[in-house]
Amino acid sequence: MIRKYVRFSPLQRFEHFAVMSLFVVLAVTGFPQKFYDHRWAQAMIGWLGGVDTARWFHRAAGIAFGLLLAAHVVRLVWQVATGTVSLSIVPTRQDFRDAVQTLRYYFGLTDKQARFDRFDYRQKFEYWGLLMGSAIVVGTGLVLLFPIVTARFLPGELIPAAYLAHSQEGLMAFLVVIVWHIYNAHLSPDVFPFDTSIFTGTVSEKRMQHEHPLELERLEHAAADTHEPAA
């Protein structure tokens, strides 16, 4: 039997699925508004039943996304406060060294590949990028949803600034997903055609050896330690 290693909890898998679905809705209803003067955008708005309908879906999905983000952050803060979460996603000095070494490896300056723990630097980068980007789009989205309330407390110029930041941040997120995430989850020869771990929650031992050798070593040590007294 092939050994499987649990990588994502059911809650994390749900979060990914929800973000993925909402991201599609937000992109489909958002970009035709950003690129309103292009023919394809006009066609898409028509297909969605008009700009008012598209906005209704965009706002509904945006609110759901905001709630998801809030729940994630609240849970994270709670878990960190109570010490019930491992901090393996927090970037460290080692990640910087890993990135440099990976680049050296790509350029052929060394034959030694960086060895990663539970999350490699690219995954940490993507996680924190998503978290920060989400905070920006949700925050600016709220400003756009409640411009009058915003202007009661803050300068009015914040509203067009939020408008621009919302649409540009959305564009950047979209491009990063298209270029980087699709490559790492689908097109990269390491996982082609489909890295299923975020849906099944598990990865094979072979992939653990290849992609997360330090974590595998830790897990094996821990297993050996717990077995020792019995031996």
Binding site: A41, Q42, M172, Y183
Partner: protein, 334 residues
Amino acid sequence: MAFAAVVATVFLIAQSAPSPAARVDNDTCLSCHNDPTLSLKARDGATVPLRVSQDALSASVHSKVACGDCHSAAAEMPHPERSFASTRDVTLALDAECRRCHFANYTKTLDSVHQQAVARGDRTAPVCVDCHGAHDVRKPSTPRTVISQTCAKCHEGIAAAYAGSVHGHALRDGNQKVPVCTDCHHAHDVAGPKQTAWELRTPEMCGSCHANKFTTYLSDFHGKTASLRRNQNTPATGPVVARCTDCHGVHDIQKATAPQSPVIKANLLKTCRQCHPGATDNFPAAWLSHYEPSLHKAQFVYAVRLGYAVVIPFMVGGLGLQILLHLWRLMANR
């Protein structure tokens, strides 16, 4: 071949033009119709004068047109007996004559609010001669000022508001480029200004002269909404979105720097509140007043724009580069 086509065209024109020999010439008509006492009695008792001023006729664009071409029912001698209910009835009975030559413009009027009123049975609604004149028909746009005067015959209040507007003032001062009534409303296919299609066309209408303002309007939330609604076939379900005229005014439009202008800073909050009733002092600054963000205006927005213009290519380019390096290394390893 080309020669044959020309000959055929000439032949067709010659055939379709009314042959002068078959009709009574204008001098014969005028021999009776220069008599100031010549008139007919309508059934309502009104006297319809039948005198035609030869001077007006020869100064008109129709000076070469035969009387019988428009008065087809009276082309024969002696004239057939006819009875009219009123003076207006005479005008309405003759209206059909214009379309025999001016068919394209007649077709356009079918879409107009004026023609809709005629079709409803409104006997005061304007027909061709009410705007163009009858025997004294002239080029309708020489000089341009005459157009607004023509409309003013019925739309008196609006004409007065227009005359006091920045456009009206400029026209009075001899600026030939300012819009007169028909530039916005069209002449023959004059649309009802309460129609949705008209509402959504407003920004383009103003933008055809104020192009730089049009661009900054479109890049704002109001403009994008108007643009996207304009290009869809479903009716708008969201709230009304501000168009040029909602902030600047319509016929009484003022210079944006005029003290009574609704868009001058002192009046702007009041203008915003027409649609955003809860707006407070900071709110009008959310609208960048047709300024492009720059180092001098809306610096914060400019900084955000600049930031993303740097970060997006850097981010996406960097990630793309790393992908290419990864693939390159995998190839080299094989």
